[in-house]
Symmetry: C4
Subunit: 190 residues, 4 copies
């Protein structure tokens, strides 16, 4: 089975996740610039989640581009990843509307952690599929994915010391991921 429809469905789900987050930005009745100020934390958390979902889309794009075959197990590993990503709008809203309070920031990180684990499971399911031997060569050790998970595991409890420290770590992870997976691109790109 080819990867075409898995990509199309994932694109649909990710496109909707990225877009419905904006519904949390409700137009204020105040028509001055001051009316926008209460929206700033909501906007800030939207930007962070947009970047994170963008990273997942971009890496997912590279990953499935390199893969040649998907099995039934891969379909469910993919649905499992999309499940955790689908919770991002909720954790983004809870965090943004409550000005980055402790529990919302910890939950936000937990969903990032579980999404990271789910991505790792998807990579392994694709590697285990027959016909994806080239992918194995291209992917290498996935060091960046493993480090991210460790950073999340540090950042989540840190929210109970200071949520801003956790946020700083989430931003650091995002920045490291903004660089696309050059190993795949080097091997498969034109």
């Amino acid at each position: 089975m080819t990867t075409g429809r898995v990509e199309a469905f994932s694109d649909g789900v990710i496109a909707i996740i990225i877009t419905i987050m904006v519904l949390e930005l409700r137009a204020p009745h105040d028509v001055t610039l001051a009316g926008l100020r209460p929206l700033l934390p909501v906007f800030g958390s939207y930007v962070m989640s947009y970047v994170y979902i963008g990273i997942y889309w971009s890496n997912h794009h590279h990953l499935l581009h390199a893969a040649q075959h998907v099995t039934g197990k891969c379909l469910w590993a993919n649905l499992h990843l999309l499940f955790w990503l689908s919770l991002v709008p909720f954790t983004t809203a809870w965090m943004g509307e409550n000005h980055f309070a402790t529990w919302p920031v910890a939950l936000y990180g937990s969903v990032l952690l579980l999404s990271g684990v789910a991505y790792n499971i998807l990579v392994r399911a694709l590697l285990a599929s027959p016909g994806n031997e080239l992918l194995a060569n291209a992917l290498g050790s996935d060091l960046k994915g493993k480090i991210s998970i460790v950073v999340y595991l540090v950042a989540i409890p840190l929210a109970f010391v200071s949520p801003w420290l956790s946020l700083a770590l989430y931003i650091v992870v995002a920045i490291t991921w903004l660089i696309p997976d050059r190993r795949i691109e080097r091997n498969f790109g034109e």
Copy 2:
């Protein structure tokens, strides 16, 4: 006519169904873990519906992958299936927000039942299309689909005895379906 655009449109509708259910998870104002507790039944019903919609997407994917041709009748059998699936977010919300009360649980099962029947109608419409002879061989008797419908017919009235019994049966059906249709995969997969 090829199956490409039917898949694309179905992917779109299913992606949106799966994603708008998450809008029912409204961010609470309480920033403690206790603030999430009232959301637990909503979350639980979201998980169940996510799995069900995922099953439909996965089976739909296998089914249309095996089919070669769609007629106008197939388009409408597909739209009919999507209609019942489109009601899942409503029944999920009614059930989750009312802590799995009798009528919501019975209605939830009824929409599952009608979706199951609609899927069966779609299978038959595809089998009746010229050029899909290979699909007939691959599909076999669709025993699992028929058993599911019988289980729903038992589970719906059972909600008036105890909604938890019905839920247990819905979960049993979901688990049996989580295993993809190996008959098709065996015959058509790589």
Copy 3:
């Protein structure tokens, strides 16, 4: 330019239109069957609009399948059609929530009328594109489209006599369209 991306984008918009209508079906707090009764007109108008949007998707599918080339003018004729269809969720909600009152029923028909006209403009834009000569043969006179427009023109003022008469006419038009455009299917289908 090929029709691929026009189809994909239209599929996306139509899939969202069909799905967000269901958001109007808000889960009641009443957990008895009586709690669903006030939703009946909302549900009824949803069913009608679902069928109409399904018809447009199905005909659009047949039309673009038969077309080979799209020009910039076709893109805008298509966006113009999608604009009127995008108003269907609004008119559906206004009509359903107000139990099929006169003005909502008249406005609902007006949006159907303008969608019908927009579809006709799209057909003509496609026919005028170079390389679509086969489409011209396949489409014939589009009698059904012209009759629909006449029926809408009768049904809209009739809402001020009785909205139920208008609704009956909308349903009659829908039934005539449920039969896919066999002329195209006969010529281009497998």
Copy 4:
């Protein structure tokens, strides 16, 4: 890497952006024509944003059709463009619900300006990708894009004199863009 999935994902996001704007058109309880009057500014701003998003989709379609290759940098330039477009429903709602007041009109223009800049960045990222030499010939100087940015820069401060002047300029820009990029079409179209 080919452009297929970038187009599909962008189509999804743009389709959702265009469609969720309609959710701002909430069905009034008043069933007379007078009940629709308060919706007129919301409707007007919806029409303008629909046309703008349509222009972006149409130009994006032409642009990626002409491009042959996308790099990781192009993916992010594209996500950056989609980010600003995703804010259009918010600025549209703020402007429409507040009858085109000064700050909302200025913010609306600012998001248009940033979208215009983001589109320009995407064009440059595509031109810098290896294998897109033909695109460079086809695109020419992008005079229209540069003029639009200048007009936005004039229109935004003008909102503090009169928001209607700004709106007039936004409409002028939209009209100039409604004409598709004939340079690309001439070179790559059939």
